[in-house]
Amino acid sequence: MSNSIKSRPGVHLKTFIFLLFIAFFAPVGNVMLSKGMKGIGSARTWEPAGFLHILVRILTSAYIWMGIACLLAFFVAYMLVLTWADYSYVQPASAFSYAVVAFLGFFLLNETVNLVRWSGIAVICLGVVIVGHTHPRTTEKS
């Protein structure tokens, strides 16, 4: 075990800042993608023959590209934080984005979010808090 990593004061602040980036860019990106895909039509009605046409519509949608840009920003933050923190810590800790995405879906996309769904999201956040109280890194530094 690397005690020097555990006792270093900057590591928790650095992790917290990167988790904030993750919790912002991931939900905004997903909302953009949702907006773009809703304009293209349900996958239930997609025909194999029309796949190329659908792909072109996806790749020419501004919302899809804005979503991809946000998810790229999320991805870079995610990759960097994984260089010092455990995957099994970062993945659940970034789950706050599930609550953010529900709020954005409700307020920006006028989605119906019932009480059971809000409860489920609250339980997910509770799980996040439990995981958040464990130490970011348990493996040796490479």
């Binding site: 239930r44 996806i58 994984l82 260089t83 099994s88 810590y89 995405v101 769904r117």
Partner: protein, 124 residues
């Protein structure tokens, strides 16, 4: 049925991809220098790790499955349901990355999965 197939790809390929990328990142070591030139150099080093490309391929598959799922269901349903990858991720991290997962972390993952179940039930 179609939703379950896409969900399988989102979770299976997404978690597999993240594990591959995490494996590659651990091999590269911790980032201390955040200047653009240093980050570009880091990205170049990352691009030469094979696991990185396997991870990117799997995550691309997961991404297009996510797009298909988002065309059918609300984002407030789709994104929380994908949290099922937490169970797959914890098992994968313990088995493949040899991370030590404490009982507290397992409890957190279990609670997250319980929340996902509620979100799934909210669809009816």
């Amino acid at each position: 049925m179609l939703e379950l197939i896409f969900l399988f790809f989102i979770i299976g390929a997404g978690t597999g991809g993240e594990l591959c990328i995490s494996h590659a990142m651990k091999a590269l070591g911790e980032v201390h220098d955040f200047r653009p030139a240093a980050l570009l150099q880091f990205a170049w080093r990352a691009a030469r790790v094979g696991w990185m490309w396997v991870g990117i391929g799997l995550m691309t598959l997961a991404f297009f499955s996510l797009l298909a799922m988002l065309s059918m269901e609300n984002v407030s349903f789709v994104v929380p349901v994908t949290a099922l990858s937490y169970a797959a991720g914890a098992v994968g991290a313990a088995v493949f990355l040899r991370e030590k997962i404490s009982p507290q972390r397992w409890l957190g993952v279990l609670v997250v999965c319980l929340g996902v179940t509620l979100v799934w039930l909210s669809r009816r």
